[in-house]
Subunit: 403 residues, 4 copies
């Protein structure tokens, strides 16, 4: 089926590094495929690209070599075993050779002041920045003789840009590229625009609002499949698994409070009010839409450096039952964010690659189950979202059988 | 549509008393219908018996007057407001007049030694005991001019009877009625047999294994709809809402430990090893069947008198994700068992009554979502179970529209 | 020993109402003395005023009659049984006759906009306001022929006033009474100043910073015993019981995050940033001082209306042990704030009354165990604080024996 | 001060291996001294043996080489870093050379059937077994020119032996050594008897009831200091820190349920009813004695293999406050048992060594704070226990100053 490339924005970050390590460890038989839904029964009989065949490359505004990133995670988190990192180091070095300097553009101080960020990646002309990104994509494809490309946004959560008319119309947005200051643009918009121009499938795994503004979604959808936003990996996943239960029993949720603690680069960026807002909106809104009645709810994200990537969340759900009696459910989630996110990205890349080969275009509604804010999908019930993925895969299987 | 009677085994217990109070409070506009799924959007357009029209009666081996039972719950639990109990006392007294002495038959010491149990209700001849029960049902129907009857088992969890060939064949079971000692029988079997003979719909809301042995299920199914067993009200409900989440993400559950604390008569009976076994089996087995791979799991039920009916449960779920990393989720559930159970019983009575009117027979698979061990249903996914109920209701709605 | 009066600022609030109900219920034999430390073994042999003999009066800026306040709590919280409230209603009405309109003075919008607040209680001249308060105290003492008076601040948490030179010197403060606008004053300062002038013992059970500014503490201490601030009732109590454990084992606390959820009038006031700051400072600071090394910590207070007075708190403690291994402890506290606070206030009143009779003056260090921010006490170890109370009581006992 | 040897029963187990690794890592500057109370301010000015100077040896019934034990822990638990284990391997090999085959004697099937247990260590004659142990101690002392010896029991929890008259009198016990079958003996009794005969200080860190039967305590106390039993490392530590809080507030504990989950060799042995009983008694009894009134309590220990050494415990505390209102506190503890235990053992060895040098004999009451069942100490208040250790250290400091 020809080779598929994966171009990652934020390629030296925790999720990207874990993904690179994981693919290499699986290839070498050092790790099981637990956590990869595309390796489960669900996808049997569906022809997906072999994860071992994926070619990785990407942009990053930091310069730490990938093997060092992996060692840092191993030390701080314990999620990558030291021995494994040692064994796959040559693979990581090979990937590192495919990485290029990323783009800072209206990215905000929280991101720009992260340790290790290279100030030379700050761009001032949107057109030139876009051209640089497109050149990198083209070179990657050519060098590795790739037939298909999936661009994946794994960069830190950006603050929202002020709304601008060009966000809503593709022609206006392209015209704005020549304006000084590039007011409507932010780094994530430039990256997704480059993907659209290049004809790559695109995945926004972050909540960054700039990545899938309507104008870009329009451009992407003309030629390719895409999906986002904000991978549903932890507390929100549990929330969306539990909310239907209250509905099935006509138990009225009075208050749903969610407290998220995390450390690490992600936590540091989200400690910033502006950046946190995008994330919080993504974690909370579905409750109100899904339950369909007013309830008190709050999502808090706190930076707790000692936790590194071990996100710890406590949710308290106060609800009312028969005769107005008040009861409660609380849960504590302790998960390693990168370990939860990386396999979802691999799954999504494989399913986007499948869609590319099948000639599908536009937002892929059947992938809603993977996202906190599924693009263009109103269904917030995790279970129905999953069933929709199952149905899609059945259709794919049938279309194969028919041939 | 004619009147429907509800005959409750265990009519002076916590769930039955709460149910009686709830129906009366709703009738008088003293309480909302929260917790009643048949009062939600789900059932709009489906013609169900008005809860205010249900006529209550039943058996119990205890003799405490129903208003006293309600006051006791109000004092110990706080789940029934003192003022409400005072206002509905006349209703409770009216229902009390419909209650008859129950039957103790091989019921085991845990039940027989409960405070307030009337030793005169102990029967020694199964045939005579059955005749007495049937007489009570017939009299209830006649007195209140009932068109339909639903028999509901809410009695304390019985220990299992030793297996016996008559459990598997209706003819053998009926023949055994004349044998001395009635070896194959236990109280719940006599009650469900009486329901079958009487032509009543039957609901086993308890885990008592005697209630729906194959021979009785055969007899019940010849003329009427029935369903069971073991209402899914609390910890198991949460468990079954969460288990699919792990499957959706191919996260491997390594261990699932569930600890249940409860006081009250239920807790006292379950403090007995024999009785607890039936319950525990019902709470645990689905995990293994649903997940389909070996995992370590344990369910513990402990008697904590100070909690009364406020069941408190803690579950610890240890799971493995990508690259073999171990993570965990824990939840604490604090719910009032009777308050959770009573509306489900009302929902089930209304849906069984609907089935009676529609001429449905045998176990009602579309009610699986209400049970820990749905009779004859292999589907353990809470969400698919709920969807199956939704589909049934759509069919009913369509059949109404067609007329 | 003559009669003792208790004059409560915030006399119609949750804690005060619970206190009034509790004293009355104990007097009538309707409730046990659980929660009253002065009713335990600890105080055997120490002659304390009989709680049944305490005469209650007070100020409030709201006008709801006390029996209505009690019924409201009974309905919303369930912490006061409806039957009990009915039986003690005559007592509550008698106390209600002793209540006088309180004083709003620079109290801030969060308090001034509370439902039920009487705008006529807003004062503009500090001298006149003080005179009114003093007149009420004098009248109360005269009417009931009281030998001793304890003034207790239970009003809602005030925001801090900007610092002012008069806060630090009694003479300057008294001089400022004649200034227009009364810049240095806030309601709580006027109340505590009135207590000082009247020669009453004074108790600041709130974190309001205005109540015990140095100038007032100086004036109070000249003639009478006093103590504060901020009763240690729930999450902070648990925190201070646990922190020593980490020290005993040389386990290093890395992060201590505390999340407090509460509804009710208290929660509504604390939802206001300004007011919350005083409270949060009081809940957090001791950790750093006690542990003596830098750690990451945060205290959050969120308003969750459905909880009413049922404070629910979750604390997450991340710590490092041998070989740098990271472990954690988390706790959830679910307590009814007024039920926890009211008995402490009774204990403190009895112990302040004892001090009055013994001629003690100034801040009572042996009462530190009751407070989040014990006035003038550097000892933060809950256990040592308790031992200091025990020692004081032994001394009292010995001095009695010697006579 | 001459060299001190530490002879460990169970020298290849998790705690012993962690201890050996920890001492070596500290010596090489690879780890901090967090968790070692003797390395904190508390012991400043008290002359204790340098941990780096301790010479390790011991018995074990398993034969796995110590470096392999360390690697196993590193893999399964993550509590020992792989790199550290690699660097200290030569040290571990040196200690391994000091290890001798242990003794199985009435040890019970749970222990005897552990994987890796050497059946040749089963002894049948108590006198010969004792002689072998004594010979090993003597040889260890001679080889390393040790001035003092501390024998430490870290072996798996034994089941209790049936009571026997010889348990209560030293002369009878020694006489019983020549009897066939050695009815009164169990392995731990033989070890502690050997320590007594050898003149070594003795530490029972386990709950094994055989280790400090009265007859052995009598023999040990004649010449040496000793202490036990059952190190207080996790859930019980938290319990004993919290119980006083309820007393300080006269809050009545109604129920205290404790659930402990652990994997690993310890968990496997405790999965056995007989062995678990000794442990559970040790974890629970203090509550009743300390609180001094009847309460409902239960301690459960469940074997959850996937947790390895990461003990996870959930405690639920139901309590009653003012006006009989019921409230609750729950905590979850997630700690690595060996990491918590190993530094306590080092602390205790150093303090026993200090006592040896100071000529102290018998049970050391000032060490009560380290144990669940402190030998001969009735004080169960963790905080008073700690203060007693502080006072002892002050006395020691003063006696140094006086010289």
């Amino acid at each position: 089926m020809g080779r598929t490339g994966v171009w990652i924005i934020g390629a030296r970050g925790g999720v990207a590094t874990t993904l690179a390590c994981g693919l290499s460890a699986i290839r070498q038989g050092l790790a099981p495929t637990t956590g990869l839904i595309t390796a489960s029964e669900l996808c049997r009989g569906v022809s997906l690209v072999d994860p071992a065949e994926l070619v990785l490359g990407g942009h990053d505004v930091r310069t730490t070599p990938l093997p060092d990133c992996a060692r840092e995670i191993s030390r701080a988190n314990g999620s990558l075993a030291g021995e494994t990192v040692a064994e796959i180091e040559p693979d990581l070095a090979r990937i590192d050779a495919n990485l290029r300097p990323g783009v800072l553009f209206h990215s905000g101080t929280a991101i720009e002041s992260l340790p290790g960020v290279d100030p030379d990646t700050r761009e001032t002309d949107p057109g030139l920045a876009l051209a640089r990104i497109e050149r990198d994509l083209a070179e990657f494809r050519a060098t590795h003789a790739l037939e298909r490309l999936v661009v994946v946004n794994l960069a830190s959560t950006e603050p929202p840009r002020p709304t601008h008319p060009a966000h809503h119309e593709a022609a206006l947005l392209e015209a704005a590229l020549t304006e000084r200051d590039g007011t409507p643009f932010i780094a994530s918009t430039l990256y997704s625009l480059a993907a659209a121009r290049h004809g790559a499938a695109y995945l926004n795994f972050t909540p960054s609002p700039g990545a899938l503004i309507p104008a870009v979604a329009e451009l992407l959808g003309r030629g390719c499949p895409f999906m986002g936003s904000d991978g549903k990996t932890g507390e929100t996943l549990v929330k969306s698994a539990l909310a239907p239960m209250f509905r099935y029993r006509n138990l009225r949720v009075l208050s749903w409070q969610g407290y998220n603690l995390l450390g690490d680069r992600d936590g540091a960026v989200l400690a910033n009010d502006e950046n946190r807002q995008a994330k919080i909106r993504s974690k909370d809104q579905f409750l109100h839409e899904y339950l369909g009645y007013p309830l008190h709810s709050k999502v808090t994200i706190d930076y707790v450096p000692s936790l590194d990537d071990w996100k710890t969340a406590w949710d308290f759900i106060h609800f009312e039952g028969f005769l107005g009696v008040r009861m409660n459910l609380q849960f504590t989630w302790q998960g390693c964010d990168s370990i939860l996110a990386a396999p979802l990205v691999i799954d999504l890349v494989r399913l986007l690659d499948l869609a590319l080969r099948r000639g599908e275009r536009g937002p892929l509604a059947h992938l809603a189950v993977f996202f906190k804010s599924p693009h263009g999908v109103g269904e917030h019930d995790l279970h129905r979202q999953f069933h929709s993925l199952e149905e899609y895969l059945s259709t794919v299987r049938r279309s194969i059988d028919e041939r």
